[in-house]
């Protein structure tokens, strides 16, 4: 906020510095409040899960687990088939991620480096499928799964999620960014097209594939809508589904147990956050640039 007098005459350097300092302080304070409101609920969840179930609803709340108590974590494993939920989630998410990495790398390579009739039109169709919301195709997919005899199996969650338009788009971009003379050189050396892909391009594409894998892992680990519809029996539940049903069963009982389950479900996401954050951010905003 500058006054008119300040703008008409050049302010003294010292005053200018002090003014920008106040601006910076105000900015940092506002940012800190925003960061506290963003991280606060998560810290509260963590510290509440580390309290004994009898102390769940403690006010004033604490945001740091000073005296960690792991009773609730033991209870989660007793009340909920946590092991099965984790295994199901890991299996579904892992296989989707691997399937997407491989199929997207192959399709991306074909769109970037191989010539065939209808390449442009086909790529447009692939991109167009990105616009279709999952809720529109879910009823026919549900029928299809029933028709294939895959009702209430983990494959019902895995198979439809493997073809990926976004992943194909990302991998095509990635391959286009690699020098084309590599293919020339390989051809001159007498490498077959397959060999060129296998030994020259695929190894170079690993970072791109990692982005596809991390994005797939994060998205499908957290997925709720499809599992809610495509899994019926509890032995096939994934984590988010199991937690929601646990919460339903407990009402407002010992919330620390429910929160312990929530914290456990966050661990893989946290690992990805710590080691793959850059890739995740790059992937999330990829293809949105000018």
């Amino acid at each position: 906020m500058t006054t008119i007098s300040e703008r008409t005459q050049a302010p003294a350097p010292a005053a200018a510095r002090r003014k920008t300092n106040w601006n910076t302080v105000l900015r940092v304070v506002l940012l800190l409040i925003a960061a506290a409101l963003t991280l606060g609920p998560v810290l509260w969840t963590l510290s509440t899960s580390l309290r004994s179930p009898s102390e769940s609803f403690k006010l004033p709340p604490s945001f740091f687990p000073w005296n960690p108590d792991f009773t609730s974590y033991a209870q989660v494993f007793r009340q909920l088939d946590m092991v099965i939920l984790v295994l199901n989630s890991a299996l579904v998410t892992g296989l989707i991620a691997v399937g997407q990495m491989v199929s997207a790398a192959m399709a991306g390579y074909a769109f970037a480096n191989l010539k065939f009739r209808g390449r442009g039109a086909l790529f447009s169709i692939v991109l167009a499928t990105m616009m279709v919301p999952v809720q529109v195709t879910i009823v026919p997919v549900f029928m299809l799964i029933r028709g294939m005899g895959l009702s209430d199996t983990l494959l019902a969650l895995i198979l439809p999620a493997i073809p990926t338009a976004f992943g194909t788009f990302l991998m095509r971009q990635y391959f286009l960014g690699l020098p084309a003379d590599l293919a020339e050189a390989a051809a001159i050396d007498g490498a077959s097209p397959w060999r060129t892909f296998r030994s020259v391009y695929a190894p170079l594409a690993v970072p791109g594939m990692a982005i596809v894998g991390i994005l797939a892992f994060n998205f499908h680990w957290n997925e709720f809508f499809r599992p809610l519809i495509l899994t019926i029996s509890e032995k096939n539940f994934t984590l988010p589904l199991g937690l929601v049903s646990l919460q339903g069963n407990m009402g407002t009982g010992s919330i620390s147990v429910v929160l312990a389950g929530v914290v456990l479900s966050m661990i893989p996401a946290l690992v990805v956050f710590m080691f793959g954050q850059r890739a995740l951010q790059a992937g999330l905003t990829a293809g949105t640039g000018k």
Binding site: A110, P133, L176, L178, A269, L280
Partner: protein, 315 residues
């Protein structure tokens, strides 16, 4: 659509000259390309394209899985459009989109501008990570712990409000309170995505532009109104379209937080698709609602392209 492959390679902004890519193709065989495409194309054909067609067809039939489907013409659409629950849900979704997207974009833009101005590097990294963090959590998990935070008697939110003398708010037991919670929880989780887009957009504005503006006597917020906002308009348009499209499909948060209640106050369009298909087994009607929602999404995307021609300022 029917651009040449050469032009496509150029448009993709590849590092290598496009001609080289076209030449590399000389050594490739089409059968290999089709082999490479097979998993993706077959998978999409089976699990995306076929279901889209099936959905369009199904919207004109009455079918409950048990008996044979019967053709009913536009009856499903007529019934759906007149169904009070469907109407309320679409209206709720519309209100939700307007309020949540406005909050999400406003918050993201303000924070992005604040983060991008002079700050120590470690602090900037910390804030970016903090705002990005909720994105990696599952909406179901978030909705579970938010339910406890917004609990009327024991919730931390009402406790914090009581510190400044505000009486307990009946968050999850009244229509207005529930709608507010669904919006707040959704924005809390999703503003980080818009924030990332804005940070990227701001980073691409050349520093010289600001220097020129400063020479012309623009200071502080004035600089942002006259320089940042016009130059950021492509990002703003992109961020708003993406935010609108995802907000139109909101399901996880209201399902876990309120199950659409109290009454129908927080029921959304996707919840109605889910309920009519998998609770009432009216697959034709569910498809009809899905078709309507998709048409709305396509209309918004088309409008985006129109608007971008008219209002967006490209350098």
């Amino acid at each position: 659509m029917s651009t040449t492959t050469r032009h496509r390679a150029q448009a993709a902004g590849s590092v290598a000259p496009p001609a080289a890519h076209a030449k590399a193709g000389r050594h490739s065989q089409p059968w290999l390309a089709w082999l490479f495409l097979a998993p993706t194309i077959l998978g999409m054909g089976l699990f995306t394209l076929l279901p889209i067609v099936a959905s369009l067809v199904l919207a004109f039939f009455r079918w409950d899985i048990i008996s044979a489907p019967t053709f009913v013409g536009f009856d499903n659409f007529a019934e759906v459009v007149q169904d009070p629950t469907v109407r309320v849900s679409f209206l709720n979704t519309l209100v939700f989109v307007v309020v949540a997207v406005a909050l999400q974009l406003g918050l993201a833009l303000a924070l992005a501008i604040m983060v991008q101005e002079k700050l120590p590097a470690w602090l900037r990294t910390f804030f970016r990570s903090a705002f990005f963090f909720p994105l990696i959590l599952s909406a179901a998990s978030v909705s579970i712990f938010m339910r406890y935070l917004f609990n009327e008697q024991f919730g931390v939110v009402n406790w914090a409000l009581s510190l400044v003398g505000i009486p307990a708010v009946p968050w999850l037991t009244t229509p207005g309170g529930s709608a507010a919670v669904v919006i707040l929880v959704y924005v809390w989780q999703n503003f980080g995505f818009s924030f990332l887009l804005f940070v990227g957009g701001l980073a691409s504005i050349p520093v010289e532009t600001y220097e020129a503006a400063s020479l012309d006597g623009a200071t502080g917020w004035r600089k942002h109104v006259h320089v940042t906002l016009p130059l950021l308009s492509p990002t703003t348009l992109l961020a708003s379209v993406m935010a609108i499209i995802s907000a139109l499909q909101v399901f996880d948060q209201p399902y876990v937080l309120t199950r659409g209640g109290p009454g129908d106050s927080t029921r959304t369009a996707v919840m109605v698709i889910f309920e009519s298909a998998f609770q009432r087994l009216e697959f034709g009607q569910a498809s009809a609602i899905g078709v309507i929602l998709t048409l709305i999404i396509m209309a918004i995307t088309a409008a985006q392209f129109r608007l971008s021609k008219r209002f967006v300022f490209y350098q």
